[in-house]
């Protein structure tokens, strides 16, 4: 009864936003991770690796990308003060992220649909652009999330951001979070790709990459924890407070270890579940650390929220929309689930 009473429309919307960010990381994030492995494709099966990545991403990336749009739309509809403050104080990293998003998507499509004389020459150029922007964009997403979590975005009495446009994000902590985001996305992609090619030599390539990225996730998580000491002390304090926090950390750590063990033993189905759980737990941990603030240190979810007359209809629209969206999204994955294996060679 007690926690149910506190379940306001604003909190519900915040929950839906967190869910779409998690889904974006698990799907769209892995698409970025695929681009990272395209950049780092090496060894005798280099071409095969790149082909597998392209095939896995092509039918789904545009749909996966919409999770980010949903999260942003919910942010400006339901928490307009937070959206305005992020757009103002983090103008530079947001712009950099957008340039990455634009170039990544178009380079991928231009490469896939180029034709005629010189297409294979141009494809090399597009591959380079696609791979580099797939690496830079997640770092920028992480920088934005890290800057928000660190609590550098403050508002004046009118609700406008007080900022010099630089200091909120130009610091070690946001960039460590950026690197962590990149490692997580890369790990997700490698695990998915290993599973899609289970039983083939290609799976070995991606298994190795998943293990390396997983190691990097552990190291960067630790570095982030250290950097939070000075970079985000309030967040760190909140992450240590209460049983709930420790449950989330426990799940993240446990799932991370399970990921290693299952990857080592080539149980890719389990590895995928473990890594997805780990990513989810890390993101929920951050959401937990930020709660009840949408912009720490002083803009709470309640204070930032639009009136209930906005939130309640939006929640109903979300529910109604999901009834159509969920089966369609599921069908998309179902149709292309076996794409990697069937086309494997």
């Amino acid at each position: 009864m007690t926690w149910l009473d506190q379940l306001t429309p604003a909190l519900l919307v915040a929950g839906v936003m967190t869910a779409s960010v998690v889904l974006y990381a698990l799907t769209g994030g892995a698409d970025f991770g695929g681009g990272v492995w395209d950049l780092l494709a090496t060894g005798p099966r280099r071409k095969a690796q790149q082909r597998a990545i392209e095939r896995a991403i092509a039918p789904v990336w545009e749909a996966n990308h919409v999770w980010l749009i949903i999260a942003v739309v919910l942010l400006f509809v339901c928490f307009p003060k937070a959206y305005a403050a992020i757009g103002t104080a983090l103008h530079i990293p947001v712009t950099a992220m957008l340039v990455g998003v634009i170039l990544r998507g178009t380079a991928f499509t231009f490469r896939a649909y180029d034709t005629g004389e010189g297409a294979s020459e141009r494809a090399k150029g597009w591959t380079r652009v696609f791979a580099i922007t797939s690496t830079v964009t997640p770092v920028m997403l992480g920088v934005i999330a890290g800057a928000v979590a660190a609590g550098g975005l403050t508002l004046d009495a009118e609700g406008r951001a007080t900022t010099d446009f630089i200091s909120a994000w130009w610091a070690p902590f946001p960039f460590v979070i950026g690197a962590l985001t990149l490692a997580l996305f890369a790990q997700l992609a490698a695990v998915y790709l290993a599973l899609a090619h289970d039983g083939q030599e290609l799976a070995e390539d991606f298994r190795l990459r998943a293990l390396l990225a997983g190691g990097l996730v552990f190291i960067l998580a630790w570095v982030a924890w250290m950097a939070a000491e000075t970079g985000a002390p309030q967040l760190k304090a909140r992450l240590l407070a209460g049983h709930g926090a420790w449950v989330v950390h426990g799940i993240a750590g446990g799932a991370g270890l399970l990921g290693f063990v299952t990857l080592w033993r080539r149980r890719y189905g389990w590895a995928r579940a473990a890594v997805m759980l780990q990513t989810t737990a890390i993101l929920l941990g951050q959401a937990w650390g930020q709660h009840p603030f949408v912009l720490p240190p002083n803009l709470t979810i309640t204070a930032a929220a639009a009136p209930d007359s906005v939130l309640v209809p939006v929640l109903w629209a979300l529910l109604a929309g999901s009834v159509v969206l969920v089966p369609a999204y599921w069908a998309l994955y179902r149709v292309f689930r076996t794409a990697g294996r069937q086309a494997g060679d």
């Binding site: 071409k47 790149q50 392209e54 092509a58 039918p59 545009e62 749909a63 990308h65 919409v66 749009i69 949903i70 942003v72 739309v73 919910l74 400006f76 509809v77 339901c78 307009p80 959206y83 305005a84 757009g87 103002t88 947001v94 712009t95 957008l98 340039v99 998003v101 634009i102 170039l103 990544r104 178009t106 499509t109 231009f110 490469r111 896939a112 649909y113 034709t115 005629g116 297409a119 294979s120 609700g159 406008r160 951001a161 639009a306 009136p307 007359s309 906005v310 209809p313 939006v314 629209a317 929309g321 969206l325 369609a328 999204y329 069908a331 998309l332 149709v335 292309f336 794409a339 086309a343």
Partner: protein, 443 residues
């Protein structure tokens, strides 16, 4: 360049760029599913090939539209945080619904583009139909949000704070219906004629190509039908503007002084300093008739409003002239083609007609941009008419010429690449299946 001007330029450039690709995403899928329908119903191989070619064009244009649209959802906050801080919640309903429609569009497009061998033929066709319907729906929702900026509704203000939002009333604001109708038809019209021009050119090279004849017939039917209907929807929009946004109407028509028996101007120059039209062709009574269906109706002129609330009159005036000029031309051309086709019981492919269609190809898109210029510049100096001025909504961020330069350069490159890519596709003689091509390109 002031930061405000840089912000306005970046927004105008981003919207102007995105709109070209957005309309492709709204109209191309219709052409695609019509061609595929012909293949499924009549087993016509050329129709299948055409559907596949058009679907590739759609894929390229959709991707550019999707990422430039993503950029816009952030640019609203990057450039106009004060606008979004107040207006975001009020126009949240159309944007939320647009999010879902766009999501479904992307899902259906993935199924369509990569599902040729994986889905049953009619299920695959339905996915294509879904792309079209959701594309049109996305466009309609976004235009609802824009309409709200012209005729804000569905909220109360108390001491400068927005209270008691009525999201449905805001979404279905007075301008919504006429703007959405006009834009949906404009998408079909501009893309229909652009596609027709491409295939007319191909037919000039090879008059007997069945594929290009069919392509021309389908695109002209869609674009031409839209062109003939469009003046009527334009009249509905004009009627709305006359009643609700009189200052915009006055700027559109170069109408400076309130008068009965108001004349309609063609060409000439609106002299803002002297508040009069110079050197224009005047058609007596026509403005009063168009605005209020009465030759003697009083039409308010610009001078009836404070000088600092005038939009940039010449921009709005010429944009409107370009839009209706092209609209009339394309409607006339459509009627001519329809008459020829009816008389001959066949698609007319006379060289003079094909050449005319090639020349007219880009005009629909020009009219589309001109129309948006009318409604957006015509709303200035307001971002939310009557409530928030554009100058008060801009970000405090300095050095906005830099992102302007970055996005302009980026979009210039993307525009050039998209066009050259499409050009290569149009004349590629034989095209392997999508899956095959993905394989070949990477190999």
């Amino acid at each position: 360049m002031t930061d405000l001007l840089a912000a306005r330029s970046q927004m105008a450039m981003s919207l102007g760029f995105h709109i070209l690709f957005a309309v492709a995403g709204m109209a191309m899928p219709l052409l695609m599913v019509i061609a595929q329908w012909r293949w499924l119903r009549h087993g016509d191989k050329a129709a299948l090939e055409l559907a596949k070619r058009w679907s590739k064009g759609t894929a390229i244009l959709f991707a550019v539209g999707a990422v430039s649209g993503t950029a816009l959802s952030f640019e609203l906050g990057l450039l106009w945080p004060e606008f979004m801080r107040h207006a975001g919640p009020i126009i949240g309903m159309p944007f939320s619904l647009e999010g879902f429609a766009f999501f479904l569009e992307a899902i259906f497009l993935g199924l369509f583009l990569y599902g040729w061998d994986r889905l049953k033929p009619w299920v695959h066709w339905l996915a294509g139909l879904g792309v079209w319907l959701m594309g049109m729906a996305s466009g309609a929702f976004v235009v609802c949000a824009n309409a709200w900026m012209n005729t804000p509704a569905g909220f109360d203000l108390q001491a400068g704070e927005v209270i008691a939002v009525r999201p449905w009333e805001a979404m279905l604001n007075p301008a919504a219906f006429s703007e959405v109708l006009h834009m949906l038809i404009a998408a079909l019209e501009s893309v229909g004629f652009a596609v027709a021009a491409i295939h007319a050119w191909a037919l000039l090279k090879n008059r007997n190509s069945r594929l290009h004849r069919m392509a021309l017939a389908i695109s002209l039917t869609v674009g031409g039908t839209a062109a003939v209907i469009q003046p009527f929807s334009g009249h509905i929009a004009g009627d709305h503007v006359a009643h609700v946004q009189p200052i915009k109407l006055a700027a559109m028509k170069g109408h400076f002084h309130t008068a009965r028996d108001a004349a309609f101007h063609i060409g000439g120059y609106p002299d803002v300093e002297r508040a009069e039209m110079r050197g224009s062709l005047e058609i007596p009574y026509l403005l009063s008739i168009l605005a209020f269906m009465d030759p003697h109706a009083e039409v308010k002129g610009l001078t009836a409003f404070p000088r600092d609330e005038w939009p940039p009159v010449p921009v709005v005036y010429y944009a409107f002239q370009i839009m209706i000029g092209i609209g009339s031309l394309l409607a006339g051309l459509a009627l001519l083609v329809a008459w020829l086709a009816w008389r001959r019981r066949a698609l007319p492919t006379d060289p003079w007609l094909l050449k005319t269609l090639v020349v007219c190809g880009p005009l629909g898109l020009v009219a589309l941009e001109a129309g948006w210029t009318v409604t957006e510049v015509g709303r200035q100096p307001w971002v939310v008419r009557g409530f928030l001025k554009t100058a008060d909504a801009v970000t405090p961020m300095p050095g906005l010429w830099m992102p302007l330069l970055v996005f302009t350069g980026l979009y210039l490159v993307l525009g050039v690449v998209s066009v050259s890519l499409l050009k290569r596709h149009v004349f590629a003689s034989t095209l392997p299946g999508v899956d095959q091509e993905v394989r070949d390109d990477v190999a």
